[in-house]
């Protein structure tokens, strides 16, 4: 981890252009253009025996989720693809076509390369979007006094992975399987919310670690009410709904929900937009002067777990 940290610190020293935002935001913003590039690696970000169609879907969704956090309208994607077994490649292409059609985003270009035989695949996607009229929200501009919100439910992708690995057994858990295999980028919600939020990002590595990053980027503190974190019925069947269950959800990662801060007076508007888009939102915390992330369970302070999420 420290090695990755050092390298990224070095890249930050190179990325001095304001559009790069110190490489600490979900996407670069250059004029009205929003750009992001995320990679997924076999054995690190997906399992070698995941369905290739699902891997393609995930590659698209994780990148579009970064655009969603900027309230951007996708314009197109470029893909960097490392070839492997032919049947896998063709199934991947099928999933790619489905994902791009589902999001109505064109494939504009990219590169296809051979790998050394037996090497794990590394897949990259660049997504381009148009920023909203009023500008793309940053993650670094929360204001003291804001409410902290999250969309959807948290922890379902983590449950899906646990089911996938056989760590948990549960019948009728299709929604958790789908949350892991076919995550949804909250594009419509992000576009609707952008004019009303003071800051926004997507939850990719875990609610706790991403809330902590948002607080750090804004130079403020966040208090998160664990009892307010929205859970799905399927998640509750698997883990219950106590503080430990919520901590499991909030550190699991890959939710690809939107985490955003907004002034208290925007709440009615936010709920109205949530209803229009058809994606639930919940107030899960407050932004305050200070620094760091504090957790509460029904009003009482809760110690931070050692692992707040993923740092891959």
């Amino acid at each position: 981890m420290s090695q990755e940290f050092d390298f990224i610190a070095r890249l930050r020293a190179i990325a001095t252009d304001p559009a790069a935002r110190g490489l600490s935001d979900d996407a670069a913003v250059l004029g009205d253009l929003v750009m992001t590039h995320d990679m997924i690696v076999e054995g690190v970000h997906y399992l070698p025996d995941d369905r290739p169609q699902d891997v393609a879907w995930k590659l698209v969704a994780v990148n579009l989720s970064d655009l969603a956090a900027k309230g951007a309208v996708p314009v197109g994607v470029l893909m960097g693809y490392s070839l492997g077994e032919a049947a896998w490649d063709m199934a991947f292409a099928e999933g790619l076509e489905e994902a791009l059609a589902a999001y109505d985003v064109p494939l504009l270009g990219g590169d296809t390369v051979r790998m050394v035989k037996g090497a794990p695949r590394a897949l990259g996607l660049t997504a381009l979007g148009r920023a909203p009229m009023g500008g793309a929200p940053l993650r670094s501009t929360m204001q003291a006094g804001d409410d902290l919100w999250v969309s959807g439910t948290i922890g379902d992708a983590g449950l899906g992975l646990a089911l996938r690995l056989g760590h948990v057994e549960l019948d009728d858990a299709l929604d958790a399987h789908a949350a892991y295999a076919l995550p949804v980028a909250r594009l419509a919600l992000g576009q609707a919310l952008a004019p009303h939020v003071s800051a926004m990002m997507d939850v990719s590595d875990g609610l706790l670690i991403d809330a902590q990053r948002m607080a750090a980027a804004s130079g403020l503190a966040v208090t998160l009410r664990l009892d307010a974190v929205p859970l799905s019925a399927t998640f509750v069947r698997a883990y219950g709904a106590d503080a430990d269950a919520v901590l499991t959800a909030a550190t699991a990662g890959e939710d690809f929900e939107l985490l955003f801060a907004a002034p208290a007076e925007a709440a009615a508007q936010i709920f109205a937009l949530s209803g229009q888009v058809g994606v639930a939102v919940a107030r899960v915390g407050r932004v305050q002067q200070g620094e760091g992330l504090q957790l509460q369970w029904r009003g009482d302070a809760v110690e931070l777990p050692k692992k707040l999420g993923w740092t891959h």
Copy 2:
């Protein structure tokens, strides 16, 4: 090869947006925006013991070369980086900083991922640029009667690789070493030529294969005069200057020179621009009705070699 071909054919069927240009051009063009994404893979596009600084340089140059072929002004890059040995990573970052400074292009964003231990690295770069005022030249719009031109000299990177692998020995060959390790993207030349050419691309896989592709994209035939292909003094010291030597140069790849077609009456202007930019250009062939690539040596037809270049 056929597997890669099938996969790319499948991607082409997905990439129906006009901006994608059927994935058959150097870059996607969307309004005034030019976008390209190229990957380089350890053991395929560079040698595991190449200097990491040089690998970074190459990653930048190969992508900017695609922008050069569009006459575009670079706006920024996003990088997808797979971590490995820490000292290598930091040396790579040093080379990246140098390359971006040399081309005055900002690093805007990207992603850094861990790989499975021991896996070869796969590095991706997306480069964005602004198209020239009159539009970006395509590779598919050569006209019958055009002259075919190439910039610089051909074969030096191939010689550099042969020296690097110990297949050739030659003293005082720094320029060939540099052509392999530190290729130059012809940005200024591409920008100057863009309004005057009918079609343009960069020579990445070999002059012959790329000329053949340009002919196929334009639905025309190209006759290439091997005796007109410009060679460096260093290349001639290593291989001589006969037809076989030129075929070696013209199938070696990684030249990153510009290959372009222009009407005969543009020649004076093209030579003038070449002089202003300080990069030599040479007329190496003609565009005609028909199809395919024909070779000549001092006016006599020469059979096409089996291997026209690289198809990685």
